[in-house]
Every structure is written in C-alpha cells, then in structure tokens.
C-alpha cells in the first residue's frame, strides 16, 4: 500500500477527482479527508504498481491544477487575478 497525501489548498479538488478517475482502473484507490489533506491509499497485487500509480497520479493532479489556474505566472494568470482567484 502506498499513501499519498495531497494538500487541499495546493491541489484543486476537481484535479484530484479527475486524476483518481483516470488511475482507478490501474489500482485500488481508497480516499478520505484528513484535515487539510486528501489521503489516497493505493493498493495493487502487482509489485511496485501501487507506488508507481501514486506518483503518476500526483503528477497528473498537479498538471491539472496548474492548467485549471490558466497558465501560471503569465498573461493567463490575469484572468484569475482579476477574479481574485490568485493568491
């Protein structure tokens, strides 16, 4: 079992949802909320798979979070800024 803790202030909820859905066919993924974190427990019968799925899932969720913020640090960030979504 590999445990992945994704901070809810750093990873978008939709991004986590989507990443979990994408990787669900590749391993068992149990999910709960622990304070500021979404905790994902990834298990698989196949050796090394749980760890790999957890790592790939984290990358995928980060990619979606960044995309969802409309191009960080660039002109696109203005849209978020204007809406007060940026920090």
């Amino acid at each position: 079992m590999t445990e992945l803790r994704l901070h809810r202030g750093l990873y978008g909820a939709n991004a986590i949802d989507e990443a979990v859905a994408i990787y669900a066919p590749h391993a068992e993924i149990a999910r709960e909320v622990d304070g500021d974190h979404v905790v994902l427990r990834v298990t698989s019968d196949r050796e090394g798979r749980a760890e790999r799925v957890a790592k790939e899932l984290a990358n995928y969720a980060l990619g979606l979070t960044v995309q969802g913020r409309d191009a960080v640090g660039g002109v696109g960030a203005l849209a978020n800024d204007a809406n007060g979504e940026s920090q």
């Binding site: 803790r5 901070h7 809810r8 202030g9 750093l10 990873y11 978008g12 909820a13 939709n14 949802d17 999910r31 709960e32 909320v33 500021d36 979404v38 790592k55 790939e56 984290a58 990358n59 980060l62 990619g63 979070t65 960044v66 969802g68 913020r69 960080v72 640090g73 660039g74 002109v75 960030a77 203005l78 800024d81 809406n83 007060g84 979504e85 940026s86 920090q87």
Partner: protein, 180 residues
C-alpha cells in the same frame, strides 16, 4: 517594487537524499503561482509533490523518474531554484504590467473583429438555439462558482460562508464534495 534576489537559506532549504530532492521555500518570496510554474516544468522528468511545511512555507519534492546519481540530483536543485526565481520574477512582471497588457489585447482584438455589418445583423438567426456552454464561458465568475455577495469583491468571496453552504475556497476552484 518586489525583489527577487539570490536564495539565502532563510528562503530555501534543499535536501538531497534517497534518490529524491526536497526544497522548502518561503511563500512570501516565492508565491504559489511561481511554485506551480516552476514545478510544472519538471513533470516530464520527475514525480513532483507539493505540500505545506508550515503556514507560509511550501515543501517541493522531486523524485526523478529514472535513476539519478547525487550530481544529477544536485543539478535538479539548481534548476528548480533558478526556475523558481524566474517564475517569481515573471509573476511580478505580469502583475506590474497587467493594466497595459489588458489594454493592448483589448484594443488589438476589438479592432480585428470590427463592428457587425448591417448584413450580418440582418442575417442573424434569432431562431437558433442558444449555444451550449459546457465550460461555462458565458457565465460570470460568480455564477460559475456560485459565489455570494459578488458586490463585495474578491476579499469577501474568500471569506468562509456564514451558512456553511455552497461557498468555495478562493484559491483553487475547489468543489467541497469529497467522494470518500
């Protein structure tokens, strides 16, 4: 004017161990946008994990996807540090020039579109169904994220909802529904 200087230890701590690189950065110097921008450039080569180490400090872990020796790991630290500086600086440049960028883009694009001609107005097919809008392009931000008290502006929007209802966090478009 904000400053992005070199990286004294107070702002960044780096650790290279067990095939992994960990950096802790001060968010007052490297805002979240810069951290996202910098770490995004690594997702082709590394597994990246972000976490909060303290209220104003972010922890970035990079685990290379392929075997990396100590030198290669140190190179990742250097690259990430430089990318953080670059993204923080870029973030400031965008912010400083925001009004101008908006003005230029608006003028350029509105000029390209031009006003509709009489023929176009005449040809307008009012009978057509309104466009579907799955991405919510046509919705205001308040409608899209079901904000309340829109007139209160962004700061009010970021405050917790008094009734604990549909309020969303301001920073990540988060849908509070957890499917645990």
């Amino acid at each position: 004017m904000g400053e992005v200087a070199g990286m004294p230890d107070a702002q960044v701590e780096a650790e290279v161990a067990e095939g992994r690189v960990t950096l802790v950065v001060d968010e007052s110097v490297y805002p979240l946008d810069a951290v996202y921008g910098a770490t995004y450039t690594f997702i082709d080569r590394c597994y990246v994990l972000l976490d909060r180490a303290a209220p104003t400090r972010l922890r970035i872990s990079l685990t290379p996807k392929h075997d990396a020796d100590a030198d290669a790991l140190r190179a990742y630290v250097g690259e990430l540090q430089n990318e953080l500086l670059s993204c923080a600086w870029r973030s400031q440049i965008v912010r400083e020039n925001r009004a101008v960028i908006e003005a230029v883009t608006l003028r350029a694009v509105s000029g390209a579109m031009g006003p509709p001609s009489l023929d176009e107005l005449e040809d307008f097919d009012f009978s057509e169904e309104p466009f579907e809008d799955p991405l919510g392009i046509g919705l205001s931000w308040e409608e899209k994220y079901k904000k309340k008290g829109a007139a209160d502006g962004p700061s009010a929007a970021a405050a917790p909802a008094a009734d604990g209802g549909e309020e969303r966090d301001a920073d990540d478009n988060r849908d509070e529904t957890e499917s645990a």
